[in-house]
């Protein structure tokens, strides 16, 4: 399958993010560590190539989140994200 074809948005990884954060964060505002843009996690440009997921800032394209999963481990890299404000809904 083509790489471009696997491009979705943050909504599509809502279930995976619930597993990690314990609550829905698609409606949370994330701040990009590179350009400082504030936008909903749902707007991340997400590339899914199992077992990894990469989410990029919609404004500047920088990687904000990387997730790699195996049977027993989840590896989460948020070094490209300045903050995520999680509000319980």
């Amino acid at each position: 399958m083509k790489t471009e074809a696997m491009k979705v948005d943050g909504n599509a990884i809502g279930g995976l993010l619930i597993e990690i954060f314990g609550t829905d964060v698609t409606g949370s505002i994330g701040v990009c560590g590179s350009c400082g843009a504030e936008d909903y996690v749902a707007t991340l440009e997400v590339y899914m190539r199992a077992p990894g997921v990469v989410g990029r800032c919609k404004t500047c394209g920088a990687v904000m989140i990387r997730i790699v999963r195996s049977e027993t481990r989840t590896w989460l890299d948020l070094s490209g994200t300045r903050t995520i404000e999680i509000v319980e809904s």
Binding site: M1, V8, G15
Partner: protein, 245 residues
Amino acid sequence: MAGAALLGRLTWLVAEVVDAVQETPRVRTLVLEADGWAGHRAGQHLDVRLTAEGGYQAERSYSIASAPGEPLGITIELLDDGEVSPYLVEEVRDGDRFELRGPIGGYFVWDGSGDAPVLLIAGGSGVAPLMSMIRHRAAIGSRTPTRLLYSSRSWDDVIYRAELEQPAGGLEVVHTLTRSQPSGWTGYARRIDAELLGEVAWPASEGPRVFICGSTRFVDAAADGLVAMGYPPLSIRTERFGATG
């Protein structure tokens, strides 16, 4: 995952297909029953997991098209090189089972609260979560002024067409048909652009809430057009689907 189950976050449930509706030649709605399903909010989606005999698993997200409180329905478009959609659109029969989990998403959701007008913009099968909102609006008797701008390739590709021809009070449905039009068609016949948005969308000063769902290119065009009209970017909620079928 045991941890997720212990924390009560998201658990895979067994779903049974209890009905299937052929919406268009390439689109089908499956009505599902799943023990333990806790209900959903209009606009949310769920994850489907199929497991092959050898153990290979494929997961996909599908928007829920039914209103909260109605039998659970998901609408699936056939993607020719997809792994999952050919099975769900062409193979699955009543009584078949697969796994699902959800509901998922607190962002692309409309609960019917607030007086602000609601602008819904759909490209193709992106209409599914918006249809859940439209059905919810009718079910709760909401009078919130609502417009659906719905872009399809042709009249035969319009999903939920009969239902959308009988809109509840205060709901306006505006179609645009981008590839072919029936004879005598007087509606829009082009992709969504700034001029079309200017004619259909409320002025930004009325503070509409906006939900756009479709392909990435479609969502970008619609959202950029609304921002150019003065809509605050954070008032526009978007959901993009890729061809991950």
